[in-house]
């Protein structure tokens, strides 16, 4: 863990610089869109993708997506700059930069997508890239496990999400998100509203780690610190929140929406702040406060009032700014001292003054002191909570409790390590290089600047975002530092008092929480045994199904075929067997007799070579039937394949031990009769109904004039259905290569 601060000699070269410039360019581009969006306009770019299904590569820039885009690209730039130093000289830095940049782009795609399918594609891309990032330190077992856990939880949610999106598209008749929102409240009246809501929320709640799916997020802290700062503060976990916000105009306002989001959001917020205070690891503490923020954002999205929406937009920005900056500060502390345990840290303020300043600025915003943006965010939160029509006390209480705890955590994370105690003698911390403190300082200062000049933010981002959320202009409330003596102010004062109390007694509180939380079940404890159970179930069922005996595979395959056909026949009614045998010629009879004789011989013989030859007889009998009914192409193919199969099977079979001397294989006999009878019955059924010659006529008519060929079978293969043929020959190649690989690995003498 303790690698110490990087030397200047180690560098990542171009792979370090290019991603920073790329993300920076994206940020500048999005920033240039601000004036347009601030004028309450939206930008929509559409490229046809799958026109037959009405799916488009549609991108929409409005207040909501622009706010997210700016956060993603801005914080992304700073995090990439930071990582370049944090992981300087790391042998796999190129991979890291690739993953992080890919993640940034997928996240941007997610927030800009204006088509449900496109949204889902980017949604899954963020899941995959974040899996790579969480598991970046793949040599440690813990990191692999936690990455897989995050992938499974969010991936399972993603499946539900996809189902929800498909239902949503079916219910509203379009995959365009702005199209769905333009339909207004129609969706809420739809019969499928509840299933859609449940499925979508399953996706967003797992992605945004709401209780009870919260357990993966703190575990995801196994990732390198800059990743945590980026993914788990500003971006990925907010993807779920983003989708809820995006669907807010179309889906909010119902009782289910209101209560699910309010209750789960509030529970997550309070629960997570308690857990945050419990942690002694700085990064873990921050991870839980992220949960608290996500809970709060969810809570606000449950409401509809302009206050709640303004509070949502403001808190979204406040949180991203201070949380990313604090995570980066923790990274600096970690690199400098080699630990993130609060008990082993102290007195860093003098040695790392710039980092300490950044931490202080961010923490003051987090704790909600004036004149920081955090203060305005907190006041708006209270105003929004009071404006909640249904349960103002519940919401305000949850907000008060979580804010006070947040205050205490801010103290633990950003005050205590710097200004209390002294540096342990084992550590020799020094200030981090500029690339590492630049990010925290910039982000934390923005919290102060926007706090002092809230109008900047109000016009540029808050107003347009609230328009996206409510669908109406003028709903946004004003951001101001001094809103007069009112209830939010009293609540703020109460927060400070309560927060100070919590901070003062946090060591005792932690011990108390430690005891009480042990009795609360956590899905993380059951996770490993769940996975083990799944694996042993898989093993058990593979042993039954894949027993390695070819004859039992074939037996079950053909049994399924016979059962399937017979059941179909029973279900649709047996065909009338009125077979007219009067025009059967001797050549037909003799071919049939030959085939039957071959089949019987294959069944009774104990010699493998005789069995193969008998099967060959059956095959050639069938080829003869094709010839009699003038299908030369099929007959030639059948003959050739039959020849080659006999050769191939003979090569294998002759090396196997001879068959056991059983008298008569009754089950095989019964099965072959069942397959033969069912196929014959279905053929009779097919022939008894008038044959649809539509396709035959078409091919006969067009084969020569359009494809210049007289052999219809071949023309179908290479021209009319060339894509199918291509698929088939691809399968042939893959099968041959796989068989070849298998044969090569099973050397002589290795076989059982």
């Amino acid at each position: 863990m303790a690698r110490g601060l990087p030397n200047d000699t180690r560098s990542n070269g171009l792979t370090g610089v290019v991603p920073v410039l790329f993300a920076g360019a994206l940020f500048v581009y999005f920033a240039s869109l601000v004036p347009t969006i601030a004028a309450a306009e939206v930008i929509r770019v559409t490229i046809p993708w799958i026109p037959s299904l009405g799916i488009e590569l549609a991108f929409l820039v409005d207040g909501l997506s622009l706010t997210f885009s700016l956060l993603i690209s801005g914080i992304g730039t700073l995090v990439l700059l930071y990582s370049n130093t944090y992981l300087a000289g790391h042998p796999q830095y190129a991979r890291f930069a690739l993953f992080l940049t890919a993640f940034t782009v997928s996240m941007l795609g997610l927030v800009l997508a204006d088509d449900l399918i496109l949204l889902f594609v980017f949604w899954e891309l963020t899941t995959l890239t974040s899996y790579m990032l969480i598991g970046f330190s793949h040599e440690t077992e813990k990191s692999r496990r936690n990455a897989l856990q995050a992938l499974f939880v969010t991936g399972a949610g993603g499946l539900a999400f996809l189902a929800g999106l498909i239902l949503l598209a079916a219910a509203s008749g379009t995959t365009s998100i702005s199209g769905i929102i333009a339909q207004g409240g129609a969706l809420k009246e739809h019969a499928m509203y509840l299933p859609i809501l449940i499925l979508l929320l399953a996706g967003t709640f797992t992605k945004s780690a709401q209780v009870p799916f919260h357990f993966w997020l703190p575990n995801a802290m196994a990732a390198p610190t800059p990743v945590s700062a980026f993914l788990h503060s500003a971006t990925m976990v907010k993807a779920g929140v983003y989708v809820m916000a995006r669907m807010h105009p179309a889906m909010s306002g119902t009782d289910v929406w209101l209560w699910t989001l309010t209750i789960l959001g509030a529970v997550t917020a309070v629960f997570a702040s308690l857990l945050a205070l419990r942690q002694t690891d700085l990064k873990q503490a921050l991870a839980y406060t992220t949960l608290m923020a996500l809970g709060t954002l969810t809570l606000f999205l449950g409401q509809e009032s302009g206050y709640a929406m303004t509070a949502f937009a403001t808190f979204l920005i406040v949180h991203s700014l201070y949380k990313a900056s604090l995570f980066l500060v923790v990274g600096c502390i970690d690199l400098s001292t080699g630990t993130r345990e609060t008990d082993q840290l102290g007195g860093l303020g003098r040695l790392m003054p710039i980092t300490a300043t950044a931490a202080a600025l961010a923490a003051l915003s987090m704790a909600g002191f004036p004149p920081f943006l955090g203060f305005i965010g907190k006041e708006l939160k209270y105003a929004g909570a009071i404006a909640v029509a249904s349960e103002p006390l519940f919401v305000a209480g949850a907000a008060l409790l979580s804010n006070a705890l947040m205050f205490a955590v801010a103290g633990v994370v950003a005050f205590r390590p710097f200004w209390q105690g002294s540096v342990p003698s084992t550590q020799s911390p020094r200030e981090a290089p500029w690339q590492m403190w630049a990010g925290p300082i910039i982000l934390a200062s923005l919290g102060a600047i926007f706090g002092i000049y809230p109008d900047l933010l109000q016009v540029a981002l808050i107003n347009p975002t609230v328009i996206s959320l409510t669908g109406e202009v003028g709903e946004a409330k004003e951001l101001k530092l001094w809103a007069g003596v009112n209830i939010p102010l009293f609540l703020s004062i109460a927060t400070f008092v309560l927060g100070l109390l919590f901070y003062w007694r946090h060591v005792q509180l932690r011990a108390m929480l430690e005891r009480s939380f042990q009795s609360i079940p956590n899905l993380d404890y059951g996770w490993d045994s769940f996975l083990d159970g799944l694996k042993s179930f898989a093993k058990w069922q593979s042993r039954i199904v894949q027993n390695g005996k070819l004859s039992s595979y074939l037996f079950s395959t053909f049994l399924t075929i016979a059962a399937g056909i017979l059941l179909t026949l029973v279900y649709t009614g047996m065909p009338k067997i009125a077979v007219d045998l009067s025009d059967v010629e001797w050549k037909h009879t003799s071919i049939a007799l030959l085939t039957i004789a071959g089949a019987i011989l294959a069944l009774v013989t104990n010699s493998r070579i005789a069995g193969i030859a008998a099967l060959g007889v059956v095959g050639i009998g069938i080829a003869l039937i094709f010839i009699v009914y003038s299908a030369p192409d099929v007959a030639i193919t059948q003959l050739l394949v039959e020849t080659l199969v006999v050769v191939l099977v003979a090569v294998v079979m002759l090396r196997l031990p001879s068959l056991p001397k059983t008298e008569f294989r009754l089950n095989h006999a019964l099965l072959s009769i069942a397959v033969g009878a069912s196929v014959s019955l279905i053929l009779i059924a097919v022939v008894s109904s008038p044959l649809d010659l539509h396709l035959t006529d078409y091919f006969e008519a067009t084969s020569w004039p359009e494809a210049y060929g007289r052999n219809i079978v071949n023309v179908i293969l290479v021209d009319f259905r060339a894509l199918d043929t291509f698929g088939e020959i691809a399968v042939v190649v893959i099968a041959a290569l796989s068989a070849y690989a298998l044969l090569r690995t099973t050397r002589k003498g290795d076989q059982k």
């Binding site: 052999n711 021209d719 041959a736 068989a739």
Partner: protein
């Protein structure tokens, strides 16, 4: 299998089968035949050769690895399909060129469809030989 008659006979038969397989492939568009049947016929010749003279000799006679042929075949078939894109047509649309065509005679027809069929031929030919050779050698 050690039989002089079979070995000597196979040398001629395999060659004949190979030539015949080309013929089957080329006539396929208008008469019974085609890449699939051609590939099977050609492979039969080499399978016979492998049985009579051993896979070592058969591989030497083939000169290239059969799996390479199969993969090339797949590539050729794909290229023939993509070729249509150059003319703005949908994937796998046949492209035709009639050399020396007059009012009454179509001349010598050349087409991407034939190229596709050659790809099919190589895939079938290569895949079967990959399997047969490997089975003869490894089991």
């Amino acid at each position: 299998m050690n039989s002089v008659i079979l070995r000597v006979g196979t040398r001629y038969l395999a060659g004949l089968l190979l030539v015949f397989s080309f013929y089957m492939m080329l006539r396929g568009h208008n008469e019974p035949g085609g890449g699939f049947i051609g590939g099977l016929t050609g492979a039969t010749g080499f399978v016979l050769y492998a049985i009579a003279c051993g896979t070592q000799d058969a591989r030497a006679a083939l000169r290239v690895m059969p799996q390479t042929l199969a993969i090339w075949g797949l590539g050729i078939a794909l290229a023939a399909g993509l070729f249509a894109a150059l003319f703005g047509d949908a994937l796998f649309t046949g492209q035709w060129l009639f050399i020396g065509a007059t009012e009454t005679d179509k001349g010598l027809p050349l087409s991407s469809v034939l190229v596709f069929d050659i790809g099919v031929y190589l895939v079938v030919f290569g895949s079967i030989l990959t399997l047969v050779f490997a089975m003869e050698e490894e089991i």
